[in-house]
Symmetry: C2
């Protein structure tokens, strides 16, 4: 029977609304009075900090350094790359004035009109390119491998917290190379880092692939992507890595003298992941009781809740709990100390416990007077809620806690892999394609042959389905997969296998 | 004799220009095409990352959590606190449109006019207050202890990299408390954390004090500050902590039901340090050869430069260098691994070495064929350049490197303390005050008695001198210091001792 504390509606009743309610119940974030801008609350931000910390380590390990470039971009910079400005013009926050003065009615109005409007960065290729054009003179200056952690702004008409917000946080890597080969290698290296991070840290399996030409980053030669499947079988683009060719080098005049003493244009890449990863995490692992966090990214691995009826009991119970905290703090999981909290707030036990269930803390230990006698804890494992709690001796809990967390992490990944694998289908005709996406029990990822001639086919808009990628590896693909075939949309015989789905 | 690689001009020739040249030579940052916005380059950003990491640890250790609030603030929010908007109106970047469209001449122009202009946050009291007003309902919700790492924008007409930029990076703590006492306690706690960070990590001694009423944060009841003295005896405000009383609680309607079941306004604080700390670091420790970094914040503790003439020598030398790197990496200083780099670039030795001197790396080890025989390194200690390099056996270097770094850090602090102490003078008359700040050998911090009646005295603007603070402790003050006395500017007998100086 559904607990009264559980999330309402359930996933099967209304998945999008369930998502909003999970975000709220877990106290992750909320919308703000500024259209499309969110407030990331401490619990949500702590998840982001853990993501950042690991990604940052991965970037540095592969030779990247961090730097910081201006928030504002002169309009003329954006215009330097035609596809680029075309792609972002509709969603630019524009700064036109630099002070406020009292107007005629006494209220403040913008004054100090700028000669050239400034755009709040929707992405930083053009402003970073301006710096790079001066930093790069010789082949000896290459490669440049720089990443930036920053906020960006893309005006959003239909915002959804984490998934689609006007302001979001991200990292954007921007690299410059002497050759096309090196730049492609970098693009794929970062794609692989994103995929490894998604699987190993987020417990979110992803399809690596290349975007079709109509879906690539404005100004890129090729965009590579990692695509994850949510529990409602829709896709989320979880990270992208762009081979920019010489497009931005030409736009920003990034040239260098090569080893043959000729001046040539450089080759650049860019790659990014954003706070929407948190949305993907929620929709991959959450259940009808709320958020479930993979231990590697959980701000708390476990919480300890003392249970008592009077002051005498309280003293004894809290003493044992405090000792347990101390003992746990000496242990480690996945290379960092066990993150444990003893919650002494004066709240009813059920209310307290449900708070942590909804926040997705992997392990909850309750200790009451009866547990003291037996030297045990009542352990609730968040992804096995249905099985209820089990009693474990304190000694064996201490001995096994790291293994329990590792098993938890692995369990989440396996469940998500199962969901992904079982919902990718080879679809060989337009009719089946339509059926796949309209049948109430259907949906998922359709693997169909597609060619450029299919771009603009009415079926995509009608079914709200988009090409997600040309898959790069076969790990999660059906066995009857063929890379080449006739395009089911246009009849063109030069089709390639493409993943299609509805997407966030 | 001055080395041709040294910074030109020297500090005594032209201190402000020396500063700009050090920033350039150390590759810390550069100005950008957007007025007043800087590009923080990898070496400068790495220093900021080290600062962030320690400050963040200190904040979390004292119970604060991180969160993230919107970049944009509705104009009407800013207007809620009269002094506040008055203080920031002249330097606001204003967003007025949310897309770009082709104009009549074919170029893009701002479209999608916003109903209400949005301000890029110059500080976040008002937008965060909006959230807090909904988060705080009962005394049980208090205190709220939140910090944000973010970029902010205050339009700057006379920008100077790190010291005064239109966009800068900072952290802003925003806390809410049930009582005035608690809020004051928090304000002072954070001031003490800033002072401890400045002294223990930056090796920058600071005066803690309270701002005079004309210098406090717009909207604050009291502003506390840490003030450091640069080598040219001018002050830099290195961090501030504000007791906001109920001013912002009233502006944002942050109210709660207290233990007596009455609804009352809360008490708030805010506190911040910014990337200008890097400017303070440069001007405190740098010398005529460039930057000097305190080891605790240096991205590299030491660099190893192999010296050889041919391939045979190269192999032998690089082997020994690589072993040294490995051995050093096992050692730690100040709780983190020794940060060491082996530089194998093909550059002339002098050029390479001077690069690191100018970047302020504390220790430089050169190893050539002759050193191999003697199992030694040629060690250059960055703050003892005049003494030249010394030869140390590899074994004793490994044994002593942590102590050498600790001594380096302490040496910087002691030199800076000496500069601070010897340049604070009690000044008892307006005549001496004028002499103190106009004498070419004078200057520094004048400790004079002042009362509110002195606000607006012509001498301040004429001499470009400002009151820095009413000092809170006496550690660095002259022994003849008296807290009370007659105001030398107005003759008011209720004067208090105030530190005055020119400032960045």
């Amino acid at each position: 029977m559904k607990n009264k504390n559980a999330i309402s509606p359930t996933r099967s009743q209304d998945y999008p609304e369930w998502y909003q309610q999970v975000v709220k119940a877990a106290d992750l974030a909320e919308s703000s009075p500024v259209r499309g801008c969110m407030v990331i609350k401490p619990w949500g931000y702590a998840v982001w900090e853990n993501m950042k910390s690991e990604l940052d380590r991965m970037f540095k390990e592969t030779g990247h350094e961090n730097a910081y470039f201006p928030l504002l971009i002169p309009l003329s910079f954006l215009e330097k790359e035609a596809e680029h400005v075309e792609g972002f013009a509709k969603e630019c926050a524009v700064v036109t004035h630099h002070r406020l003065e009292k107007g005629q009615d006494g209220g403040l109005v913008p004054k100090g009109s700028l000669e050239e409007p400034l755009i709040i960065r929707p992405t930083s290729e053009t402003i970073i390119g301006h710096s790079y054009s001066r930093w790069v003179q010789s082949y000896r200056d290459l490669p440049i491998l720089i990443n930036q952690w920053a906020n960006v702004m893309r005006w959003e008409m239909r915002p959804r917290v984490f998934l689609r917000t006007s302001e979001f946080l991200w990292q954007e890597g921007h690299t410059v190379h002497a050759t096309s080969e090196e730049a492609v290698e970098e693009t794929l290296k970062m794609l692989n880092i994103y995929a490894a991070f998604a699987e190993e840290w987020m417990a979110v399996p992803v399809l690596k692939g290349k975007k079709t030409s109509d879906e690539k980053f404005p100004g890129a030669v090729d965009t590579y992507t990692i695509e994850a499947m949510m529990q409602d079988k829709k896709a989320i683009q979880a990270g992208t890595s762009h081979f920019l060719g010489q497009n931005f080098a030409k736009a920003s005049e990034i040239k260098f003298i090569n080893e043959n003493e000729k001046q040539v244009y450089a080759w650049t890449t860019s790659w990014g992941v954003t706070t929407r990863l948190i949305g993907g995490l929620i929709m991959t692992h959450g259940d009808d009781d709320g958020l479930i966090l993979p231990p590697k990214l959980a701000p708390l691995h476990l919480v300890i809740l003392p249970i008592y009826k009077n002051d005498d009991e309280k003293k004894e119970v809290v003493d044992v709990c405090s000792t347990l905290v101390k003992d746990l703090s000496l242990l480690s999981y996945n290379g960092s100390k066990i993150r444990v909290k003893l919650d002494l707030r004066q709240l009813r036990g059920g209310e307290k416990k449900w708070g942590y269930i909804k926040k997705g803390v992997p392990l909850i230990c309750e200790i009451g007077p009866r547990d003291l006698e037996k030297k045990q804890v009542a352990l609730t494992v968040r992804n096995k809620l249905v099985a209820g709690k089990s009693f474990v001796s304190i000694d064996s809990f201490l001995a096994e806690v790291s293994a329990i967390l590792a098993e938890f992490q692995e369990g989440l990944l396996n469940t998500a892999k199962e969901n992904l694998k079982s919902n990718i289908k080879c679809i060989g005709s337009l009719e089946d394609f339509e059926k796949f996406f309209t049948d109430s029990k259907g949906g998922g990822f359709a693997l169909s042959h597609w060619s450029e001639k299919a771009i603009g086919h009415e079926i995509f808009q009608r079914l709200k389905v988009t090409p997600r990628c040309l898959p790069l590896d076969k790990e999660y693909l059906p066995v009857n997969y063929h890379e080449n075939g006739t395009c089911i949309f246009s009849g063109d015989s030069n089709g390639k296998a493409v993943i299609f789905s509805k997407a966030y």
